[in-house]
Protein backbone atom coordinates (compact mmCIF):
# COMPACT_ATOMS: atom_id res chain seq x y z
CA UNK A 1 0.00 0.00 0.00
CA UNK A 2 1.22 3.42 -0.84
CA UNK A 3 2.47 5.52 2.01
CA UNK A 4 0.06 8.25 0.97
CA UNK A 5 -2.93 5.93 1.24
CA UNK A 6 -1.73 4.45 4.46
CA UNK A 7 -1.37 7.89 5.98
CA UNK A 8 -4.72 9.04 4.57
CA UNK A 9 -6.47 5.96 5.87
CA UNK A 10 -5.29 6.51 9.42
CA UNK A 11 -6.20 10.14 9.12
CA UNK A 12 -9.64 9.40 7.73
CA UNK A 13 -10.56 6.87 10.38
CA UNK A 14 -9.42 9.18 13.17
CA UNK A 15 -11.24 12.15 11.67
CA UNK A 16 -14.49 10.25 11.21
CA UNK A 17 -14.43 8.96 14.79
CA UNK A 18 -13.70 12.42 16.17
CA UNK A 19 -16.35 13.89 13.92
CA UNK A 20 -18.99 11.39 15.08
CA UNK A 21 -18.17 11.83 18.74
CA UNK A 22 -18.14 15.61 18.35
CA UNK A 23 -21.51 15.52 16.58
CA UNK A 24 -23.10 13.47 19.36
CA UNK A 25 -21.62 15.72 22.02
CA UNK A 26 -22.66 18.79 20.09
CA UNK A 27 -26.22 17.48 19.79
CA UNK A 28 -26.56 16.85 23.51
CA UNK A 29 -24.99 20.18 24.37
CA UNK A 30 -27.36 22.07 22.08
CA UNK A 31 -30.31 20.08 23.39
CA UNK A 32 -29.40 20.88 26.96
CA UNK A 33 -28.99 24.57 26.17
CA UNK A 34 -32.35 24.80 24.42
CA UNK A 35 -34.21 22.93 27.17
CA UNK A 36 -32.61 25.27 29.69
CA UNK A 37 -33.82 28.21 27.63
CA UNK A 38 -37.35 26.76 27.42
CA UNK A 39 -37.39 26.10 31.15
CA UNK A 40 -36.45 29.74 31.78
CA UNK A 41 -39.26 30.85 29.48
CA UNK A 42 -41.70 28.59 31.29
CA UNK A 43 -40.72 30.18 34.59
CA UNK A 44 -41.34 33.63 33.11
CA UNK A 45 -44.82 32.41 32.22
CA UNK A 46 -45.23 31.12 35.76
CA UNK A 47 -44.38 34.55 37.12
CA UNK A 48 -46.79 36.19 34.73
CA UNK A 49 -49.60 33.84 35.82
CA UNK A 50 -48.78 34.45 39.49
CA UNK A 51 -48.72 38.22 38.96
CA UNK A 52 -52.01 38.12 37.09
CA UNK A 53 -53.69 36.12 39.85
CA UNK A 54 -52.43 38.40 42.59
CA UNK A 55 -53.69 41.44 40.68
CA UNK A 56 -56.97 40.18 39.33
CA UNK A 57 -57.70 37.36 41.73
CA UNK A 58 -58.70 35.23 38.83
CA UNK A 59 -57.04 32.78 36.48
CA UNK A 60 -55.80 34.40 33.32
CA UNK A 61 -57.73 33.77 30.28
CA UNK A 62 -56.31 31.07 28.04
CA UNK A 63 -55.20 32.49 24.74
CA UNK A 64 -54.74 29.71 22.21
CA UNK A 65 -51.28 29.75 20.67
CA UNK A 66 -49.49 27.51 18.29
CA UNK A 67 -46.54 26.62 20.36
CA UNK A 68 -47.89 27.23 23.83
CA UNK A 69 -50.67 25.39 25.55
CA UNK A 70 -51.98 26.46 28.93
CA UNK A 71 -54.51 24.49 30.92
CA UNK A 72 -55.91 24.53 34.43
CA UNK A 73 -57.04 21.67 36.52
CA UNK A 74 -58.83 21.76 39.80
CA UNK A 75 -56.83 20.33 42.61
CA UNK A 76 -57.86 19.38 46.09
CA UNK A 77 -54.52 20.06 47.67
CA UNK A 78 -52.11 22.86 47.30
CA UNK A 79 -48.53 21.98 46.60
CA UNK A 80 -45.50 24.20 46.49
CA UNK A 81 -43.83 21.77 44.16
CA UNK A 82 -43.14 22.56 40.56
CA UNK A 83 -42.71 19.85 38.00
CA UNK A 84 -40.78 20.07 34.71
CA UNK A 85 -41.27 17.32 32.22
CA UNK A 86 -40.97 16.48 28.55
CA UNK A 87 -43.98 14.74 27.11
CA UNK A 88 -45.87 13.98 23.96
CA UNK A 89 -49.11 15.77 23.38
CA UNK A 90 -51.71 16.08 20.66
CA UNK A 91 -53.99 13.64 18.98
CA UNK A 92 -53.32 10.78 16.69
CA UNK A 93 -50.54 11.31 14.27
CA UNK A 94 -49.90 14.87 15.18
CA UNK A 95 -48.24 14.15 18.44
CA UNK A 96 -45.53 16.58 19.32
CA UNK A 97 -42.97 16.87 22.02
CA UNK A 98 -43.64 19.49 24.62
CA UNK A 99 -41.86 20.85 27.65
CA UNK A 100 -44.32 21.25 30.43
CA UNK A 101 -44.23 23.18 33.70
CA UNK A 102 -46.72 22.17 36.33
CA UNK A 103 -47.38 24.31 39.36
CA UNK A 104 -50.13 25.00 41.81
CA UNK A 105 -51.98 28.30 42.29
CA UNK A 106 -54.66 29.36 44.72
CA UNK A 107 -57.47 31.53 43.42
CA UNK A 108 -60.26 32.52 45.79
CA UNK A 109 -59.43 29.67 48.10
CA UNK A 110 -59.57 27.14 45.29
CA UNK A 111 -56.52 25.29 44.19
CA UNK A 112 -55.64 24.79 40.63
CA UNK A 113 -52.85 22.92 38.92
CA UNK A 114 -51.55 25.05 36.08
CA UNK A 115 -49.92 23.30 33.10
CA UNK A 116 -47.95 25.49 30.74
CA UNK A 117 -46.49 23.55 27.78
CA UNK A 118 -44.20 24.83 25.14
CA UNK A 119 -43.61 22.94 21.93
CA UNK A 120 -40.20 21.43 21.37
CA UNK A 121 -40.81 21.30 17.64
CA UNK A 122 -38.92 24.46 16.82
CA UNK A 123 -36.11 23.58 19.14
CA UNK A 124 -35.69 20.24 17.42
CA UNK A 125 -35.72 22.00 14.07
CA UNK A 126 -33.03 24.36 15.15
CA UNK A 127 -30.88 21.60 16.61
CA UNK A 128 -31.22 19.58 13.47
CA UNK A 129 -30.32 22.52 11.26
CA UNK A 130 -27.34 23.44 13.38
CA UNK A 131 -26.10 19.84 13.38
CA UNK A 132 -26.58 19.62 9.64
CA UNK A 133 -24.75 22.84 8.94
CA UNK A 134 -21.87 21.87 11.14
CA UNK A 135 -21.77 18.37 9.68
CA UNK A 136 -21.55 19.73 6.16
CA UNK A 137 -18.92 22.21 7.20
CA UNK A 138 -16.82 19.52 8.85
CA UNK A 139 -17.24 17.21 5.88
CA UNK A 140 -16.17 19.91 3.48
CA UNK A 141 -13.23 20.67 5.72
CA UNK A 142 -12.23 17.02 5.72
CA UNK A 143 -12.41 16.78 1.95
CA UNK A 144 -10.41 19.95 1.53
CA UNK A 145 -7.91 18.66 4.05
CA UNK A 146 -7.45 15.41 2.16
CA UNK A 147 -7.05 17.05 -1.20
CA UNK A 148 -4.50 19.48 0.16
CA UNK A 149 -2.73 16.65 1.96
CA UNK A 150 -2.47 14.63 -1.17
CA UNK A 151 -1.12 17.45 -3.24
CA UNK A 152 1.29 18.56 -0.57
CA UNK A 153 2.40 15.03 0.27
CA UNK A 154 2.90 14.19 -3.34
CA UNK A 155 5.01 17.27 -3.78
CA UNK A 156 6.93 16.55 -0.59
CA UNK A 157 7.63 12.97 -1.63
CA UNK A 158 8.59 13.86 -5.18
CA UNK A 159 12.36 13.64 -4.57
CA UNK A 160 11.81 10.19 -3.10
CA UNK A 161 9.96 8.94 -6.16
CA UNK A 162 12.54 10.45 -8.47
CA UNK A 163 15.30 8.68 -6.52
CA UNK A 164 13.34 5.45 -6.75
CA UNK A 165 12.93 5.79 -10.50
CA UNK A 166 16.67 6.38 -10.93
CA UNK A 167 17.54 3.44 -8.69
CA UNK A 168 15.31 1.15 -10.72
CA UNK A 169 17.30 2.00 -13.84
CA UNK A 170 20.64 1.63 -12.09
CA UNK A 171 22.69 -1.45 -12.86
CA UNK A 172 25.94 -2.09 -11.12
CA UNK A 173 28.94 -1.88 -13.40
CA UNK A 174 26.96 -0.48 -16.32
CA UNK A 175 27.25 3.24 -16.81
CA UNK A 176 27.94 5.67 -14.03
CA UNK A 177 26.04 6.53 -10.87
CA UNK A 178 22.62 8.15 -11.24
CA UNK A 179 22.33 11.90 -10.74
CA UNK A 180 19.78 12.44 -7.98
CA UNK A 181 17.42 15.41 -7.92
CA UNK A 182 18.53 18.20 -5.59
CA UNK A 183 16.26 18.53 -2.57
CA UNK A 184 16.20 20.67 0.55
CA UNK A 185 14.48 18.00 2.63
CA UNK A 186 17.06 16.62 5.04
CA UNK A 187 15.71 13.08 5.02
CA UNK A 188 15.92 12.81 1.26
CA UNK A 189 19.32 14.48 1.04
CA UNK A 190 20.51 11.94 3.55
CA UNK A 191 18.89 9.07 1.69
CA UNK A 192 20.49 10.13 -1.59
CA UNK A 193 23.87 10.61 0.04
CA UNK A 194 23.66 7.16 1.63
CA UNK A 195 22.67 5.60 -1.68
CA UNK A 196 25.56 7.29 -3.48
CA UNK A 197 28.03 6.08 -0.86
CA UNK A 198 26.65 2.54 -1.00
CA UNK A 199 26.68 2.49 -4.78
CA UNK A 200 30.23 3.84 -4.92
CA UNK A 201 31.37 1.10 -2.55
CA UNK A 202 29.48 -1.53 -4.50
CA UNK A 203 30.93 -0.26 -7.80
CA UNK A 204 34.45 -0.41 -6.51
CA UNK A 205 33.90 -3.88 -5.04
CA UNK A 206 32.40 -4.97 -8.32
CA UNK A 207 35.34 -3.57 -10.27
CA UNK A 208 37.77 -5.34 -7.96
CA UNK A 209 35.91 -8.58 -8.38
CA UNK A 210 35.92 -8.26 -12.14
CA UNK A 211 39.60 -7.48 -12.14
CA UNK A 212 40.24 -10.52 -9.98
CA UNK A 213 38.32 -12.69 -12.44
CA UNK A 214 40.17 -11.27 -15.41
CA UNK A 215 43.58 -11.39 -13.75
CA UNK A 216 42.98 -14.89 -12.46
CA UNK A 217 41.99 -16.06 -15.93
CA UNK A 218 45.02 -14.37 -17.42
CA UNK A 219 47.39 -15.80 -14.90
CA UNK A 220 45.93 -19.24 -15.41
CA UNK A 221 46.55 -19.15 -19.16
CA UNK A 222 50.28 -19.73 -18.86
CA UNK A 223 50.26 -22.72 -16.50
CA UNK A 224 47.46 -24.27 -18.53
CA UNK A 225 49.51 -23.73 -21.68
CA UNK A 226 52.53 -25.33 -20.01
CA UNK A 227 50.55 -28.35 -18.81
CA UNK A 228 49.06 -28.88 -22.24
CA UNK A 229 52.40 -28.59 -23.98
CA UNK A 230 54.00 -31.00 -21.51
CA UNK A 231 51.28 -33.52 -22.24
CA UNK A 232 51.75 -33.10 -25.99
CA UNK A 233 55.42 -33.94 -25.38
CA UNK A 234 54.63 -36.73 -22.91
CA UNK A 235 52.55 -38.75 -25.36
CA UNK A 236 55.51 -38.94 -27.73
CA UNK A 237 57.04 -41.41 -25.33
CA UNK A 238 56.88 -44.78 -26.98
CA UNK A 239 57.06 -46.57 -23.67
CA UNK A 240 53.64 -45.37 -22.54
CA UNK A 241 51.48 -48.33 -21.64
CA UNK A 242 47.83 -48.57 -22.61
CA UNK A 243 46.84 -47.90 -19.05
CA UNK A 244 49.03 -44.82 -18.83
CA UNK A 245 47.62 -43.60 -22.12
CA UNK A 246 44.14 -43.85 -20.71
CA UNK A 247 45.16 -41.75 -17.73
CA UNK A 248 46.80 -39.21 -20.00
CA UNK A 249 43.63 -39.00 -22.11
CA UNK A 250 41.56 -38.30 -19.02
CA UNK A 251 44.00 -35.58 -18.03
CA UNK A 252 43.73 -34.16 -21.57
CA UNK A 253 39.96 -34.02 -21.29
CA UNK A 254 40.17 -32.28 -17.92
CA UNK A 255 42.73 -29.75 -19.10
CA UNK A 256 40.57 -29.12 -22.15
CA UNK A 257 37.64 -28.31 -19.88
CA UNK A 258 39.79 -26.05 -17.77
CA UNK A 259 40.97 -24.26 -20.91
CA UNK A 260 37.44 -23.69 -22.13
CA UNK A 261 36.25 -22.55 -18.74
CA UNK A 262 39.11 -20.13 -18.48
CA UNK A 263 38.59 -18.77 -21.96
CA UNK A 264 34.89 -18.32 -21.32
CA UNK A 265 35.55 -16.45 -18.07
CA UNK A 266 38.10 -14.27 -19.79
CA UNK A 267 35.67 -13.54 -22.60
CA UNK A 268 32.96 -12.59 -20.11
CA UNK A 269 35.31 -10.22 -18.30
CA UNK A 270 36.37 -8.68 -21.58
CA UNK A 271 32.80 -8.08 -22.70
CA UNK A 272 31.96 -6.59 -19.32
CA UNK A 273 35.06 -4.43 -19.40
CA UNK A 274 33.94 -3.01 -22.75
CA UNK A 275 36.83 -4.46 -24.68
CA UNK A 276 34.46 -5.14 -27.54
CA UNK A 277 33.16 -1.60 -27.72
CA UNK A 278 33.90 -0.98 -31.41
CA UNK A 279 30.75 -1.45 -33.47
CA UNK A 280 30.11 -1.67 -37.17
CA UNK A 281 27.24 -2.61 -39.45
CA UNK A 282 27.06 -6.38 -39.27
CA UNK A 283 25.09 -8.51 -41.74
CA UNK A 284 23.64 -11.10 -39.38
CA UNK A 285 22.32 -13.24 -42.23
CA UNK A 286 25.84 -13.67 -43.63
CA UNK A 287 27.26 -14.70 -40.26
CA UNK A 288 24.40 -17.09 -39.61
CA UNK A 289 24.79 -18.74 -43.00
CA UNK A 290 28.51 -19.18 -42.43
CA UNK A 291 27.81 -20.72 -39.06
CA UNK A 292 25.29 -23.14 -40.51
CA UNK A 293 27.91 -24.25 -43.02
CA UNK A 294 30.62 -24.73 -40.43
CA UNK A 295 28.29 -26.58 -38.07
CA UNK A 296 26.83 -28.70 -40.85
CA UNK A 297 29.06 -31.68 -40.23
CA UNK A 298 28.23 -31.78 -36.54
CA UNK A 299 24.53 -31.40 -37.31
CA UNK A 300 24.69 -34.31 -39.72
CA UNK A 301 26.73 -36.37 -37.32
CA UNK A 302 24.08 -35.95 -34.65
CA UNK A 303 21.32 -36.49 -37.22
CA UNK A 304 19.71 -33.20 -36.34
CA UNK A 305 17.19 -31.70 -38.73
CA UNK A 306 17.75 -28.04 -39.19
CA UNK A 307 15.34 -25.56 -40.75
CA UNK A 308 16.39 -21.96 -41.28
CA UNK A 309 14.37 -18.91 -42.25
CA UNK A 310 16.85 -16.17 -42.89
CA UNK A 311 16.07 -12.61 -43.91
CA UNK A 312 18.80 -10.10 -44.66
CA UNK A 313 19.27 -8.19 -41.41
CA UNK A 314 21.88 -5.54 -40.66
CA UNK A 315 22.59 -4.39 -37.13
CA UNK A 316 25.07 -2.09 -35.49
CA UNK A 317 27.22 -4.19 -33.18
CA UNK A 318 30.66 -5.62 -32.59
CA UNK A 319 31.46 -8.14 -35.32
CA UNK A 320 33.42 -10.51 -33.09
CA UNK A 321 30.55 -10.56 -30.60
CA UNK A 322 28.02 -11.27 -33.37
CA UNK A 323 30.10 -14.28 -34.32
CA UNK A 324 30.28 -15.53 -30.72
CA UNK A 325 26.55 -14.91 -30.26
CA UNK A 326 25.58 -17.20 -33.14
CA UNK A 327 28.26 -19.69 -32.25
CA UNK A 328 27.00 -20.04 -28.70
CA UNK A 329 23.31 -20.11 -29.57
CA UNK A 330 23.71 -22.66 -32.32
CA UNK A 331 26.24 -24.67 -30.31
CA UNK A 332 23.83 -24.65 -27.41
CA UNK A 333 21.01 -25.99 -29.60
CA UNK A 334 23.21 -28.76 -30.92
CA UNK A 335 24.62 -29.73 -27.56
CA UNK A 336 21.24 -29.92 -25.90
CA UNK A 337 19.42 -31.79 -28.63
CA UNK A 338 19.15 -35.52 -28.66
CA UNK A 339 20.14 -37.37 -31.81
CA UNK A 340 17.40 -37.03 -34.42
CA UNK A 341 16.05 -33.83 -32.88
CA UNK A 342 14.90 -30.65 -34.56
CA UNK A 343 16.54 -27.24 -34.71
CA UNK A 344 14.88 -24.19 -36.17
CA UNK A 345 16.61 -20.89 -36.76
CA UNK A 346 14.64 -17.77 -37.66
CA UNK A 347 16.32 -14.48 -38.45
CA UNK A 348 13.79 -11.69 -38.87
CA UNK A 349 13.96 -7.89 -38.81
CA UNK A 350 13.47 -7.55 -35.10
CA UNK A 351 14.42 -10.92 -33.68
CA UNK A 352 16.65 -13.95 -33.88
CA UNK A 353 15.07 -17.16 -32.71
CA UNK A 354 16.73 -20.49 -32.04
CA UNK A 355 14.37 -23.37 -31.35
CA UNK A 356 15.44 -26.89 -30.45
CA UNK A 357 13.86 -30.02 -29.13
CA UNK A 358 11.87 -32.03 -28.47
CA UNK A 359 12.65 -31.85 -24.77
CA UNK A 360 11.03 -33.32 -21.70
CA UNK A 361 10.78 -30.30 -19.51
CA UNK A 362 11.29 -26.61 -19.36
CA UNK A 363 14.57 -25.17 -18.12
CA UNK A 364 14.52 -22.64 -15.32
CA UNK A 365 14.02 -19.33 -17.12
CA UNK A 366 15.36 -17.33 -14.21
CA UNK A 367 18.56 -19.30 -13.89
CA UNK A 368 19.27 -20.23 -17.45
CA UNK A 369 21.32 -17.12 -18.25
CA UNK A 370 23.25 -17.11 -14.98
CA UNK A 371 26.83 -18.27 -14.81
CA UNK A 372 27.57 -21.93 -14.24
CA UNK A 373 23.95 -22.93 -14.68
CA UNK A 374 23.79 -26.49 -15.93
CA UNK A 375 20.30 -27.47 -16.91
CA UNK A 376 20.92 -31.11 -17.56
CA UNK A 377 23.34 -33.59 -16.15
CA UNK A 378 25.97 -32.71 -18.74
CA UNK A 379 28.87 -31.86 -16.45
CA UNK A 380 31.27 -31.47 -19.36
CA UNK A 381 29.89 -28.02 -19.97
CA UNK A 382 31.09 -25.00 -18.09
CA UNK A 383 27.64 -23.41 -18.07
CA UNK A 384 28.87 -20.05 -19.32
CA UNK A 385 27.67 -20.17 -22.93
CA UNK A 386 24.30 -18.56 -22.29
CA UNK A 387 25.75 -16.15 -19.73
CA UNK A 388 28.03 -14.93 -22.52
CA UNK A 389 25.03 -14.68 -24.87
CA UNK A 390 23.19 -12.60 -22.31
CA UNK A 391 26.18 -10.32 -21.77
CA UNK A 392 26.57 -9.83 -25.52
CA UNK A 393 22.88 -8.93 -25.79
CA UNK A 394 23.27 -6.50 -22.93
CA UNK A 395 26.23 -4.61 -24.41
CA UNK A 396 24.68 -4.66 -27.88
CA UNK A 397 21.37 -3.24 -26.68
CA UNK A 398 19.39 -6.42 -27.36
CA UNK A 399 17.30 -8.45 -24.98
CA UNK A 400 17.03 -12.20 -24.70
CA UNK A 401 14.27 -14.42 -23.49
CA UNK A 402 13.67 -18.11 -23.09
CA UNK A 403 10.40 -19.87 -23.80
CA UNK A 404 9.24 -23.45 -23.73
CA UNK A 405 6.45 -24.23 -26.16
CA UNK A 406 5.25 -27.52 -27.62
CA UNK A 407 8.14 -29.36 -25.97
CA UNK A 408 10.62 -27.09 -27.72
CA UNK A 409 13.19 -24.78 -26.13
CA UNK A 410 13.18 -21.37 -27.72
CA UNK A 411 15.76 -18.62 -27.31
CA UNK A 412 14.74 -15.27 -28.72
CA UNK A 413 17.09 -12.35 -29.14
CA UNK A 414 15.05 -9.19 -29.61
CA UNK A 415 17.08 -6.76 -31.72
Amino acid sequence: MKLLYKYSRINLVASVIIFLLASVAFYFLLHFIFIKQLDDDLHVELNEVATYISRNNALPEIIPSEDEITSYQFSSVYSQKQYLRTLEMGDGDEKENYRQLQFCVSVNGKNYNVFISKSLENTDHIIRSVILVSAITILLLLIAYFIINRIVLRRLWKPFYSTMALMKKYRIGHGGLPEFEQTDTNEFTELNATLVTTMKDAESEYRNLKEVTENASHEMQTPVAVIRSKMDVLIQDENLSENQSKIVQEAYTAIQRLTRLNQALLLLSKIENKQFAATETVALDKILEEKLVSFKEILNNKQLNIAAEIKPVNVQMNAALADILFNNLLGNCIRHSNAGGEIKVILADKAIEFVNGPAEKMLEPKKIFTRFYKGGSNTDQHGLGLAIVKEICLVSGFSIEYKFQNKMHSFIVVL
Binding site: Q221, V233, K246, L266, N327
Partner: protein
Protein backbone atom coordinates in the same frame (compact mmCIF):
# COMPACT_ATOMS: atom_id res chain seq x y z
CA UNK B 1 66.71 -25.18 -40.27
CA UNK B 2 66.81 -23.02 -37.20
CA UNK B 3 63.87 -21.91 -35.19
CA UNK B 4 64.01 -19.24 -32.50
CA UNK B 5 61.61 -19.47 -29.60
CA UNK B 6 61.15 -16.10 -27.91
CA UNK B 7 59.27 -17.01 -24.77
CA UNK B 8 59.89 -16.14 -21.15
CA UNK B 9 58.09 -19.12 -19.68
CA UNK B 10 60.74 -21.87 -19.47
CA UNK B 11 58.13 -24.61 -19.11
CA UNK B 12 56.62 -23.69 -22.43
CA UNK B 13 59.79 -23.02 -24.38
CA UNK B 14 61.29 -26.34 -23.31
CA UNK B 15 58.13 -28.18 -24.43
CA UNK B 16 58.20 -26.44 -27.80
CA UNK B 17 61.86 -27.32 -28.20
CA UNK B 18 61.26 -30.93 -27.23
CA UNK B 19 58.36 -31.24 -29.66
CA UNK B 20 59.80 -29.42 -32.67
CA UNK B 21 63.33 -30.65 -32.36
CA UNK B 22 64.06 -33.32 -34.91
CA UNK B 23 66.38 -34.06 -37.81
CA UNK B 24 64.89 -31.05 -39.63
CA UNK B 25 64.72 -28.36 -36.98
CA UNK B 26 67.16 -26.94 -34.46
CA UNK B 27 65.54 -24.83 -31.77
CA UNK B 28 67.06 -21.95 -29.85
CA UNK B 29 65.50 -20.15 -26.95
CA UNK B 30 65.54 -16.46 -26.02
CA UNK B 31 63.81 -15.71 -22.72
CA UNK B 32 64.12 -11.92 -22.73
CA UNK B 33 63.69 -9.07 -25.17
CA UNK B 34 67.42 -8.30 -25.09
CA UNK B 35 68.43 -11.91 -25.69
CA UNK B 36 66.01 -12.11 -28.60
CA UNK B 37 67.34 -8.91 -30.20
CA UNK B 38 70.87 -10.23 -29.92
CA UNK B 39 70.05 -13.59 -31.51
CA UNK B 40 68.03 -12.07 -34.30
CA UNK B 41 70.86 -9.74 -35.20
CA UNK B 42 73.42 -12.53 -35.24
CA UNK B 43 71.58 -15.34 -36.96
CA UNK B 44 68.93 -16.02 -39.51
CA UNK B 45 65.98 -18.20 -38.58
CA UNK B 46 63.51 -20.06 -40.72
CA UNK B 47 60.85 -19.13 -38.20
CA UNK B 48 60.66 -17.10 -35.02
CA UNK B 49 58.03 -18.11 -32.48
CA UNK B 50 57.37 -14.86 -30.70
CA UNK B 51 55.60 -14.18 -27.42
CA UNK B 52 54.13 -10.68 -27.12
CA UNK B 53 54.75 -10.03 -23.44
CA UNK B 54 58.42 -10.32 -22.71
CA UNK B 55 60.64 -9.21 -19.86
CA UNK B 56 62.25 -6.00 -21.04
CA UNK B 57 60.05 -5.29 -24.01
CA UNK B 58 57.16 -6.00 -26.30
CA UNK B 59 57.16 -8.69 -28.98
CA UNK B 60 55.50 -6.36 -31.44
CA UNK B 61 58.45 -3.94 -31.16
CA UNK B 62 60.81 -6.80 -31.81
CA UNK B 63 58.82 -7.66 -34.90
CA UNK B 64 58.91 -4.06 -36.15
CA UNK B 65 62.64 -4.00 -35.51
CA UNK B 66 63.03 -7.16 -37.55
CA UNK B 67 61.07 -5.79 -40.47
CA UNK B 68 62.95 -2.48 -40.32
CA UNK B 69 66.20 -4.41 -40.73
CA UNK B 70 64.81 -6.20 -43.77
CA UNK B 71 65.13 -9.60 -42.15
CA UNK B 72 63.15 -12.28 -43.91
CA UNK B 73 62.61 -14.62 -40.96
CA UNK B 74 59.10 -15.98 -40.70
CA UNK B 75 57.29 -14.93 -37.54
CA UNK B 76 54.57 -16.73 -35.62
CA UNK B 77 53.15 -14.77 -32.72
CA UNK B 78 52.02 -16.69 -29.65
CA UNK B 79 50.14 -14.64 -27.12
CA UNK B 80 48.15 -15.31 -24.00
CA UNK B 81 46.09 -12.24 -24.61
CA UNK B 82 43.86 -13.80 -27.24
CA UNK B 83 42.70 -10.36 -28.16
CA UNK B 84 41.74 -9.29 -31.60
CA UNK B 85 43.73 -6.06 -31.28
CA UNK B 86 46.91 -7.98 -30.53
CA UNK B 87 46.31 -10.24 -33.44
CA UNK B 88 45.70 -7.36 -35.82
CA UNK B 89 48.68 -5.41 -34.48
CA UNK B 90 50.90 -8.47 -34.90
CA UNK B 91 49.78 -9.25 -38.42
CA UNK B 92 49.97 -5.58 -39.39
CA UNK B 93 53.53 -5.41 -38.11
CA UNK B 94 54.39 -8.23 -40.50
CA UNK B 95 53.87 -11.46 -38.57
CA UNK B 96 52.98 -14.46 -40.72
CA UNK B 97 50.54 -15.98 -38.29
CA UNK B 98 49.07 -15.71 -34.82
CA UNK B 99 48.34 -18.45 -32.30
CA UNK B 100 46.78 -17.80 -28.94
CA UNK B 101 47.76 -19.61 -25.77
CA UNK B 102 47.07 -22.22 -24.69
CA UNK B 103 47.68 -24.16 -27.90
CA UNK B 104 48.44 -27.73 -28.83
CA UNK B 105 52.01 -28.32 -29.93
CA UNK B 106 50.90 -30.14 -33.10
CA UNK B 107 48.99 -26.98 -34.02
CA UNK B 108 52.11 -24.90 -33.44
CA UNK B 109 54.13 -27.34 -35.53
CA UNK B 110 51.56 -27.14 -38.33
CA UNK B 111 51.65 -23.34 -38.32
CA UNK B 112 55.45 -23.24 -38.25
CA UNK B 113 55.60 -25.74 -41.08
CA UNK B 114 53.15 -23.68 -43.12
CA UNK B 115 55.19 -20.52 -42.61
CA UNK B 116 58.39 -22.25 -43.58
CA UNK B 117 56.72 -23.81 -46.61
CA UNK B 118 55.43 -20.46 -47.80
CA UNK B 119 58.83 -18.82 -47.38
CA UNK B 120 61.36 -21.46 -48.45
CA UNK B 121 59.42 -23.30 -51.05
CA UNK B 122 58.53 -20.16 -52.92
CA UNK B 123 60.15 -21.49 -56.09
CA UNK B 124 59.53 -25.17 -55.57
CA UNK B 125 55.98 -26.19 -56.20
CA UNK B 126 55.63 -29.53 -54.48
CA UNK B 127 56.87 -31.33 -51.39
CA UNK B 128 57.79 -34.98 -51.52
CA UNK B 129 57.73 -37.20 -48.48
CA UNK B 130 58.49 -40.80 -49.18
CA UNK B 131 56.13 -41.90 -51.91
CA UNK B 132 53.81 -39.01 -51.22
CA UNK B 133 53.81 -35.74 -53.10
CA UNK B 134 51.86 -32.68 -52.09
CA UNK B 135 51.15 -29.40 -53.86
CA UNK B 136 50.15 -26.93 -51.22
CA UNK B 137 49.11 -24.25 -53.72
CA UNK B 138 46.83 -26.40 -55.78
CA UNK B 139 45.96 -28.58 -52.88
CA UNK B 140 46.46 -32.03 -54.30
CA UNK B 141 48.11 -35.14 -52.92
CA UNK B 142 49.68 -37.91 -54.96
CA UNK B 143 50.88 -41.35 -54.03
CA UNK B 144 53.25 -42.80 -56.60
CA UNK B 145 51.82 -40.46 -59.23
CA UNK B 146 48.26 -41.44 -58.31
CA UNK B 147 46.08 -38.50 -57.32
CA UNK B 148 44.31 -39.10 -54.01
CA UNK B 149 40.94 -37.46 -54.22
CA UNK B 150 40.45 -35.79 -50.83
CA UNK B 151 37.72 -33.58 -49.42
CA UNK B 152 38.76 -30.26 -47.90
CA UNK B 153 38.67 -31.62 -44.37
CA UNK B 154 40.62 -34.71 -45.36
CA UNK B 155 43.21 -32.57 -47.10
CA UNK B 156 43.51 -30.34 -44.02
CA UNK B 157 43.91 -33.40 -41.88
CA UNK B 158 46.52 -34.84 -44.22
CA UNK B 159 48.62 -31.65 -44.18
CA UNK B 160 48.25 -31.52 -40.39
CA UNK B 161 49.54 -35.07 -40.09
CA UNK B 162 52.35 -34.30 -42.51
CA UNK B 163 53.50 -31.34 -40.41
CA UNK B 164 53.51 -33.63 -37.38
CA UNK B 165 54.81 -36.75 -38.99
CA UNK B 166 56.17 -39.45 -36.72
CA UNK B 167 54.57 -37.83 -33.71
CA UNK B 168 51.55 -38.76 -31.67
CA UNK B 169 48.78 -36.17 -31.96
CA UNK B 170 46.06 -36.08 -29.35
CA UNK B 171 42.56 -36.35 -30.79
CA UNK B 172 41.56 -33.15 -29.00
CA UNK B 173 44.27 -31.32 -30.93
CA UNK B 174 42.96 -32.78 -34.19
CA UNK B 175 39.41 -31.71 -33.35
CA UNK B 176 40.54 -28.19 -32.61
CA UNK B 177 42.50 -28.04 -35.81
CA UNK B 178 39.63 -29.22 -37.96
CA UNK B 179 36.72 -27.38 -36.36
CA UNK B 180 38.25 -24.50 -34.48
CA UNK B 181 38.32 -24.09 -30.75
CA UNK B 182 34.97 -22.42 -30.19
CA UNK B 183 33.22 -25.61 -31.09
CA UNK B 184 33.23 -27.94 -28.15
CA UNK B 185 33.52 -31.36 -29.67
CA UNK B 186 34.41 -33.41 -26.66
CA UNK B 187 31.52 -35.70 -27.45
CA UNK B 188 32.19 -35.75 -31.18
CA UNK B 189 35.43 -37.67 -31.43
CA UNK B 190 33.69 -40.13 -33.69
CA UNK B 191 33.69 -37.41 -36.35
CA UNK B 192 37.49 -37.37 -36.28
CA UNK B 193 37.49 -41.11 -36.49
CA UNK B 194 35.28 -40.98 -39.57
CA UNK B 195 37.61 -38.56 -41.34
CA UNK B 196 40.69 -40.57 -40.46
CA UNK B 197 39.07 -43.75 -41.64
CA UNK B 198 38.24 -42.14 -44.99
CA UNK B 199 41.72 -40.69 -45.38
CA UNK B 200 43.28 -44.07 -44.62
CA UNK B 201 40.99 -45.81 -47.06
CA UNK B 202 41.67 -43.32 -49.84
CA UNK B 203 45.44 -43.71 -49.48
CA UNK B 204 45.11 -47.48 -49.40
CA UNK B 205 42.82 -47.42 -52.44
CA UNK B 206 45.72 -46.10 -54.57
CA UNK B 207 47.99 -48.77 -53.17
CA UNK B 208 49.49 -46.82 -50.30
CA UNK B 209 50.38 -48.21 -46.89
CA UNK B 210 48.49 -47.50 -43.69
CA UNK B 211 50.32 -44.39 -42.55
CA UNK B 212 48.00 -43.54 -39.69
CA UNK B 213 48.18 -45.52 -36.49
CA UNK B 214 45.79 -45.19 -33.61
CA UNK B 215 47.56 -44.87 -30.25
CA UNK B 216 45.48 -46.43 -27.48
CA UNK B 217 42.41 -44.32 -28.24
CA UNK B 218 44.38 -41.29 -27.14
CA UNK B 219 45.52 -40.01 -30.50
CA UNK B 220 47.00 -40.82 -33.88
CA UNK B 221 50.45 -41.07 -35.38
CA UNK B 222 51.36 -40.52 -39.02
CA UNK B 223 54.43 -42.53 -39.77
CA UNK B 224 56.48 -42.10 -42.92
Amino acid sequence: MKILIVEDEPGLSSSITAYLHNEQFICEIAATYAAAVEKIELYEYACIILDITLPGGNGIDLLKNLKANNKSDGVLIISAKNSLDDKLAGLKAGADDYLSKPFHLPELAARVAAIIRRRSFAGKKTIAIGDLEVDVDEKWVKFNEHIIDLTRKEYDLFIYFLSNKNRVINKGAIAEHLWGDDMDLSDNYDMIYAHIKNLRKKIQNVGGPDYIKSVYGMGYKFTV
